[in-house]
């Protein structure tokens, strides 16, 4: 079970968030709050709006309507680069690493622009962060990395921006049992540093082990919220995943 030094104060508040793409409502009145220093699981069947939620929070595109508050201030329409600097970090399911740069340089991008600072400082932060996530030989080119290492690099990149809250978007996808264990440990380490974590996952073992609380999305709305034990027994949640008759 995750650590219990959770503060009651919300670090992120999402109010009635709607996001339309053409006629399709990817988010349809989603509302939730994330408490400081918790590990929140974000669950839901495919197409429920989980990635859209993260994209809107992180500023990739603005919501069609609704409000987002980060540490009490409204950040609803701020662009992604500002939000990154304010402390909202995230990983991508499918990101293209910079192939012309080495591993360390990839992470440096996060350090340079997520914080400001000189090239030297960014280099130092990058190297420290790589060590933290367990990546060695940082001068390697991207083509020489394993799939797990690439995932770690993406996390390192996000960490290098010094986030206060970090969204992990399906980082466990495609990992075997040992690799998943390694990742779980890494997420714990990140959490121990005081970073709030929102984790989108389909691998339930991970959710069970890491999270205090989960929210479940379906059709762009939050349909359930609470500790995993309770939520996983909620008939609404079960039918969302398995269909009406289950």
């Amino acid at each position: 079970m995750a650590s219990s030094k959770v503060h009651a104060a919300p670090i992120l508040q999402i109010e009635n968030l709607k996001r339309l793409f053409g006629g399709l409502a990817a988010l349809n009145g989603a509302a939730l709050e994330i408490r400081e220093n918790e590990v929140l699981g974000i669950l839901g069947p495919n197409g429920a709006g989980k990635t859209t939620l993260i994209n809107v929070i992180a500023g990739i595109y603005p919501p069609t309507s609704g409000r987002i508050l980060f540490e009490g201030r409204a950040i609803t329409n701020l662009p992604a680069y500002k939000l990154c600097r304010l402390g909202i970090g995230r990983t991508f399911q499918l990101a293209k690493p910079l192939e012309d740069l080495s591993l360390a340089q990839n992470v440096m991008v996060g350090a340079l622009f997520g914080n400001g600072g000189t090239l030297k400082e960014a280099r130092r932060i990058a190297e420290e962060t790589c060590e933290f996530v367990g990546l060695g030989d940082v001068e390697r080119g991207i083509s020489k990395l394993t799939a797990l290492e690439i995932k770690k690099m993406q996390i390192a990149h996000a960490l290098a921006t010094q986030p206060r809250i970090l969204f992990l978007d399906e980082v466990m996808a495609g990992l075997n049992t040992d690799e998943t264990r390694e990742m779980i440990e890494l997420v714990r380490k990140i959490h121990d540093r005081g970073i709030t974590i929102g984790i989108v996952e389909h691998v339930m073992r991970v959710i069970r082990e890491l999270t205090n609380r989960v929210v479940v999305l379906d059709w762009g709305q939050v349909i359930a919220e609470g500790p995993y034990q309770e939520v996983s027994a909620d008939p609404l949640v079960i039918s969302a995943y398995l269909g009406e008759d289950a």
């Binding site: 680069y81 990154c84 990101a95 293209k96 012309d100 996060g110 340079l112």
Partner: protein, 306 residues
């Protein structure tokens, strides 16, 4: 190559170039000057390309710089050198304004708008004869430095060196990381805290200013500007071919391309007086198909693979 050795090499090459007028004749000097102008253009084009944005606007800002330099010199009576810098500044300001409007666009839309730029500038200038001399252009009373080939060469060398320094700054500072990230995946770049729009506008303005300075220098050296001459697509075609051939996204690629193709062009001009531009088109096509990374890029790729 060790840093110290590299600086020695730079010093040596610089000394070689600066003293070039003392042991070459005027013909070779003017060829070298032309190569250096194209080198500056090729570098400035590549610098924007590093952000992933393709611009055909070189000819446009080159011409604007030329006209601005001539007009400022003629009307404000400023020192020709100052007017060249002013020409660059004007081009840069134009680019700033245009960029702010147009750099929301990406890919082919941006590229095509820049292709239209030279046309637009040309039409505007052709239609304001009182200001710009119309279709005949403007002739300066005298070329800069009264046409002295040594001083002219040094002027052009200074322009080329400026472009070189700018390119290296782009390659060695945080700008390098920003541009490479933007080129790779803009969404990822934004999520890394990069203000993409700001970087693109600044790069566009700086590179256009360099093109403007080159245009101003060229105008003063040759002593005239004209709608057809100053905005000719040659000033886009040749630098692009040079940067492609030598290797995109590097400083030394465009330099190598400019030197090699520039020398080759001189030979060709002597053999086939009318067809040599054809070769540039062929070079672009072949380079894109067979070695899109250019000489420098292909070599460094092979080295990395080892």
């Amino acid at each position: 190559m060790k840093t110290r050795n590299r600086w020695i090499l730079y010093a040596f090459v610089t000394a070689l170039l600066v003293t070039l007028p003392y042991y070459t004749g005027t013909y070779l000097l003017s060829v070298a000057g032309t190569i250096l102008i194209y080198l500056a253009l090729a570098l400035s084009w590549d610098m924007l390309l590093r952000s992933g944005q393709l611009s055909f606007g070189i000819a446009g800002f080159f011409g604007i710089g030329g006209y601005a330099a001539v007009l400022i010199f003629t009307n404000a009576g400023l020192n020709p050198l100052i007017s060249i810098l002013a020409g660059g500044a004007v081009a840069g300001v134009f680019a700033l304004i245009i960029g702010t409007a147009v750099l929301q666009l990406r890919g082919m839309y941006f590229a095509i708008v820049t292709l239209a730029l030279a046309e637009i500038f040309r039409v505007i200038i052709r239609n304001l004869p009182d200001l710009t001399g119309g279709p005949e252009g403007l002739v300066l009373p005298a070329a800069i430095f009264s046409g002295d080939s040594t001083s002219t060469f040094w002027l052009i060398l200074a322009v080329a060196v400026t472009a070189l320094i700018a390119s290296e700054i782009f390659q060695k500072s945080r700008v390098f990381f920003a541009l490479t990230s933007i080129r790779n995946d803009e969404v990822l770049a934004r999520s890394s805290g990069i203000n993409v729009f700001k970087y693109l506008v600044i790069v566009f303005a700086v590179t256009s200013a360099i093109q403007g300075i080159a245009g101003g220098a060229y105008a003063h050296v040759h002593g005239f500007v004209s709608p057809e001459g100053s905005f000719s697509l040659d000033f886009a075609l040749l630098p692009m071919a040079m940067a492609l051939f030598g290797g995109m996204h590097t400083t030394w690629g465009p330099v190598l391309g400019a030197v090699l193709l520039g020398i080759a062009a001189e030979f060709l001009k002597l053999q086939i007086p009318y067809g040599h531009l054809l070769v540039y088109g062929v070079i672009i096509v072949i380079a894109i198909i067979l070695f899109p990374k250019g000489i420098v890029g292909t070599i460094s790729q092979k080295l990395q693979a080892r």
